[in-house]
Subunit: 159 residues, 2 copies
DNA sequence: CACATAATGTTATGCGCATAACTAATCCGT
DNA sequence: ACGGATTAGTTATGCGCATAACATTATGTG
């Protein structure tokens, strides 16, 4: 691949990151959220009470980031953190009622953002988009060793 | 669009941002660069001596960010900043020889990253990728008034 | 010309996310 | 059952990027 094409791709990804995040920030601000927090709320809405380590895994960010995100969302009353009974190291995070109400609003914003983002693209391109983006992501993912989650193959627990 | 699809798109963009940036960080670290700085060097390599305001425009970031980026790259000896003759407010930024040498290395890394990023995708998808990503970007770009703008012409595809 | 307005850049501050270093709890092989 | 390794979480620190407030220079009207 020549440099021109390579740069076009890298630069496009970089700019998309900046602008999509900026737009999300603008849409989430009226809800009192900063970008990144919405992902945590949505994950809790999707999975119910969750351990912080799993949250970090789902959101693709590191434990210290999860600590700060949960701390702030707890301070604003949208989530609740309790020590797990079965594992005294773990902290279980769950939505409060306020958090659930806010998450409903977040979902509306999230749909609006996605629609705005893909406006003007052919339906088939939009349909393929998540898969293409996920492929790009796992290609550069050093966390999960680029493994594809598609197979759903999990080593069975030896017990 | 239903929430599932919307979330798949937004989440995919968010994760791609994190991972692509993280991978870039890993590849640039041996060169002594942090992600974001390479874009500035490449822009200077492409356009020659440039005013900071134009740099911010090209990189899609704000004046204070440009100030910090240029300050650090100047401190590391890769760029030089001089006051413009024609406009005493403006600061002209240009590559030093060290900066040019480093940029050569950056280009190699940049090509490698792009190739790694699009690995496994059909060639035609890769060919369309920059345009698709740029469309997504301008759809959510609140900086330059929404849509087309850059070159003053329609992106492409004269039917 | 004078003066309001715009444009360039800087400082201060804040958020998200990262890594490094640390504590505390759980697991596991001997 | 003991003691090393693994895992969950926190604190400290740093970088990139953003906005807000500000100083300085250019510009374009009356």
């Amino acid at each position: 691949m020549d440099f021109e094409r390579a740069d076009a791709i890298n630069q496009a990804i970089r700019l998309l990151s900046l602008r999509h995040r900026a737009r999300a920030a603008g849409l989430l601000a009226p809800l009192g959220l900063h970008p990144g927090q919405e992902a945590l709320l949505l994950e809790l809405d999707r999975s119910g009470p969750t351990i912080q380590a799993q949250l970090g895994d789902a959101l693709g960010c590191e434990p210290p980031s999860v600590t700060l995100m949960t701390r702030k969302l707890e301070a604003s009353g949208h989530i609740r953190r309790t020590q797990a009974a079965s594992d005294k190291r773990a902290t279980v995070v769950e939505l409060t009622e306020r958090g659930e109400a806010l998450t409903k609003q977040v979902k509306k914003v999230w749909r609006a953002l996605a629609e705005e983002t893909v406006a003007g693209l052919p339906a088939e391109t939009v349909a393929e988009l998540p898969n293409v983006l996920n492929t790009l992501t796992s290609n550069v993912d050093t966390r999960r060793s680029g493994a594809r989650a598609a197979t759903g193959k999990v080593d069975k627990a030896p017990r």
